[in-house]
């Protein structure tokens, strides 16, 4: 299906697939940093498993991106040999783990968005994209179940756990506006029914977050000042450090196999 795309569509689709791949690659890498450090063994395993799912999904998007781009690059070239400004992920996913509460707040914001997004993406007329979405929906269900349960437990737990998760929510809230931002790329893809309308997801996302936070006795920050830039390659200072660690082996020994 990637053979008969015109140039404009090819470029837009490539860009779009980078966004999807990068969101999951960076978030997966962040979660993998917990490996061996999580508060309890079961949680160490859970976060490792979720990280693997996300990195696997990113591999599906990025290999499709490489195929669409058709310039002899591979998913590994795209993961390891692009610089910070070439990454198109949401700023939310590059935010550091800080503590378990931050990790859970970041994950829950993303999981809820991802669930709504995938449901629409599975209807894409670009069938390879719809296929990856269909597969990811199953995985997103248990990811969301995991992060939601922790939001409830921390929020409705002790005073300390509640303070920690509320602080994390307040700090990370400003990165949630990017979920619903669209650019020209979205317009081009929406015309062909390849990509969902992100604006339609916003209300539902807010409703789900509101209802969980209410149950968890947490409050929604009132601020309406949202960070922006990730889709254009503008990032917070954290992404560069993450990439340095993620890419060093591949860049030090290009083409190495193990």
């Amino acid at each position: 299906m990637t053979n008969n795309l015109d140039n404009k569509m090819r470029e837009a689709l490539f860009e779009y697939l980078l966004r999807l791949g990068d969101d999951r690659l960076i978030l997966g890498h962040r979660l993998s940093e917990w490996c061996g450090h999580a508060p309890i063994l079961e949680e160490d395993i859970a976060l490792g498993n979720i990280a693997l799912d996300l990195i696997g999904q990113s591999s599906a998007y990025l290999s499709l991106a490489a195929e669409v781009e058709n310039k002899n690059r591979t998913e590994d070239d795209l993961s390891y040999f692009r610089n910070e400004y070439e990454f198109k992920n949401l700023q939310l996913v590059e935010q550091p783990n800080i503590d378990f509460a931050y990790t859970i707040a970041r994950q829950y914001f993303f999981d809820v968005y991802e669930g709504l997004f995938l449901e629409e993406l599975a209807k894409s007329k670009f069938e390879q994209l719809a296929g990856i979405a269909e597969k990811s929906i199953k995985e997103n269900k248990y990811h969301t179940r995991h992060s939601k349960h922790w939001v409830l437990r921390l929020g409705d737990g002790t005073e300390e756990s509640r303070n920690k998760i509320q602080t994390a929510i307040n700090d990370l809230w400003r990165f949630t506006g990017e979920f619903f931002e669209e650019t020209e790329v979205d317009e081009i893809l929406k015309e062909k029914n390849f990509a969902p309308d992100l604006k339609l997801l916003k209300q539902k996302w807010n409703e789900i977050i509101n209802s969980t936070f209410e149950e968890a006795t947490l409050s929604i920050p009132e601020s309406k000042d949202f960070a922006t830039g990730g889709r254009n390659g503008i990032h917070t200072e954290h992404l560069g450090h993450l990439l340095a660690e993620m890419q060093i082996v591949a860049r030090s020994f290009p083409g190495a196999k193990w």
């Binding site: 859970a46 498993n49 693997l52 269900k141």
Partner: protein, 157 residues
Amino acid sequence: MNQTKEKILKLLEDVYDPEIPVLNIIEMGIVRGVNEIDGGYEIKITPTYSGCPAMKTIEDEILDLLHSEGVEKIKVTKVYSPSWTTNWMSEKTKIKLGGYGIAPPEENSEEFIFKKITCPFCKSTNTKLTSEFGSTSCKSLHFCNNCLQPFEHFKCI
């Protein structure tokens, strides 16, 4: 079906899931088909989980095995839709899994987290879920209150 196709499918029964060495990739439902493509063959496989590290190994093993058996032109393609489900495992496969000490997936239900999974060792249903996540993406952790053994269960997806 031509003879080579049949031969390939037969050969693929010798490729085992490295994480669950008791099941081969046909039994797992990973192989979705073999097609003839310009002078060679395309093997379609579907990932059990997106992040399953065994997929790469399986792909390499398919290529190694078929090459060594003289089937030269082989392409392995990943397909995502329809997505893999534990429903594709036969009853026979599930019994094998149980015999290996992993509680098999029960029917088609994501609701397994609310159910009492039968202990593969003592067959008691007095068990509890320890964690939805286990040593591999496809397994959850449980504990048997009867024989006091932790055990793994192949999740239903």
